[in-house]
């Protein structure tokens, strides 16, 4: 009986699992994943900038469609509607929202979309003193409102 026990013990000792290959794999994988990891999730808002090549084509396309402008100034966003290449200002569309009321602005834009399907471009303008975070909040609200129009940024003139 004692001999059999001893033999069993020997067999148990021989069947040890070698963890070294697993360790090797981990040591290779961890630095690779560490380099490729992003601990802060990034996003990006796409904006169009009026450039020389785009100008004339855009003018023709926008002639008959509604263009919305968003002006960020002193913590307020002024929404205005234009048609016929900014020649016709639609007074009834003008609305002013505080930065804390961006959800209201989104609802307003959704209403506009349901009434008028031809919103072509949303033109965004912010004053130089505005905070970048505020500008992004407005742009994000426009993008997530479901207008399905491209966002163009109005910038200062460069000679």
């Amino acid at each position: 009986m004692s001999l059999i026990r001893k033999r069993n013990k020997k067999i148990e000792q021989e069947a040890e699992l070698s963890l070294i290959p697993v360790m090797n794999l981990f040591v290779c994988l961890i630095p690779f994943l560490l380099i490729s990891a992003a601990f802060v999730r990034m996003g990006a808002i796409k904006v169009d900038v009026p450039s020389e090549s785009k100008g004339s084509q855009a003018d023709v396309e926008q002639a008959s469609k509604l263009v919305l402008t968003f002006k960020l100034e002193n913590g307020k966003v002024t929404v205005e509607g234009f048609s016929q290449n900014f020649q016709n200002n639609i007074a009834s569309l003008k609305k002013v929202f505080f930065l804390s009321e961006l959800e209201l602005m989104k609802t307003y834009l959704l209403e506009l979309k349901s009434k008028n399907e031809s919103v072509q471009v949303s033109l965004f303008y912010a004053t130089q003193e505005s905070k970048y975070q505020d500008a992004i909040s407005v742009l994000n609200a426009i993008e997530t409102s479901g207008l399905e129009s491209s966002i163009a940024i109005a910038t200062g003139m460069v000679d």
């Binding site: 963890l19 697993v22 360790m23 981990f26 994988l29 961890i30 994943l33 560490l34 380099i35 490729s36 990891a37 992003a38 601990f39 802060v40 999730r41 990034m42 996003g43 990006a44 808002i45 796409k46 904006v47 169009d48 900038v49 009026p50 450039s51 020389e52 090549s53 785009k54 960020l72 912010a126 004053t127 130089q128 003193e129 505005s130 905070k131 970048y132 975070q133 505020d134 500008a135 992004i136 909040s137 742009l139 994000n140 993008e143 997530t144 940024i153 910038t155 200062g156 003139m157 460069v158 000679d159």
Partner: protein, 153 residues
């Protein structure tokens, strides 16, 4: 003597390193890193000080051209452009950026613009204006995605 030798052999302890706790730790780290695996997002070249503004927007692809704007400097793909500040009014100074962009590529590809959330919009506006003048019509503004916890609050 023989007895002494045999007794010494018996006393010698059988030392084995237990790798199990180490494997446990590595497994936890591995799972955490796999969750945060984002090869595209890790290619964004920005300084640690710059904290992009929050938004719900997502990023599909990382543009090749990345410009980081601060109050005092402009960095192109992580490399600072000497003598150029966002509020420079001298066109000659902006031509340095134009030359650097030409070195990267001839085509006007999309540009990823990186700026801090607390910075003035003016510096972003000025840079976009100069990029537009150079024919870059498609700009992506880098943001960081809002946490779900923050949304709930």
């Amino acid at each position: 003597m023989l007895k002494l030798r045999s007794s010494k052999l018996e006393v010698k302890p059988n030392i084995t390193t237990s790798l199990t706790p180490m494997i446990d730790m590595f497994t936890t780290i591995l799972i955490f890193l796999i969750i945060n695996f984002a090869p595209d997002e890790s290619r964004v070249q920005k300084t640690e000080k710059t904290l992009p503004p929050k938004s719900a927007a997502q990023m599909k692809a990382i543009p090749k051209i990345q410009i980081e704007v601060t109050e005092t400097s402009i960095r192109l793909n992580g490399k600072a452009i000497e003598g150029l500040t966002p509020m420079s009014e001298d066109i000659q100074v902006w031509n340095i950026l134009k030359d650097e962009l030409k070195k990267i590529n001839e085509k006007a590809e999309p540009v990823l613009l990186i700026a801090d959330q607390d910075s003035n919009y003016g510096i972003v506006d000025s840079t976009i204006g100069h990029l537009a003048a150079q024919g870059y019509g498609e700009v992506y503004l880098l943001t960081r995605r809002e946490d779900k916890k923050e949304n709930l609050q």
